[in-house]
Symmetry: C2
Subunit: 83 residues, 2 copies
């Protein structure tokens, strides 16, 4: 079965996020006064063949550990889309 997995890779809290700050400033310049902090990271969508949801999630986490995220500077979240 094929599962669609959504991965979000974000800069770790407390580390520099210049892209997020740039967007924060741009939004405020555009008049969006209600925005507080903004963080920008990467969104990765992967179609994974797996026997179960859990297996798809486990494989996606392994992909994050091995390629998609920098373990020193980034955190990631994995979500398997409902069938």
């Amino acid at each position: 079965m094929t599962y669609r997995v959504h991965v979000r890779v974000m800069p770790r809290a407390g580390l520099l996020d210049p892209q997020g700050q740039a967007v924060e400033h741009a939004l405020s310049a555009l008049g969006f006064a209600e925005t507080r902090t903004v963080h920008v990271g990467r969104a990765v969508e992967i179609e994974v063949d797996a026997k179960s949801r859990d297996e798809a999630e486990a494989r996606a986490r392994l992909m994050c550990d091995r390629l998609l995220a920098n373990p020193v500077t980034e955190d990631y979240q994995v979500e398997v889309e409902a069938d």
Copy 2:
């Protein structure tokens, strides 16, 4: 009230996604044979002051239209985190 809004900006289906293809190849070179298509986009996390969830979502959509997404080449999805 402050809502945390997750935005995913992805290359529109059918348009070139060289970053996604690069990740696809890298994953397959690392032995992840179970991956099919991969797409890479941006994840934006915004803290928004709003009176309601719906208002937070509407404002975030406006931010996407005005700044965060390219209306010609990208699609976006907005999710307001549960309180």
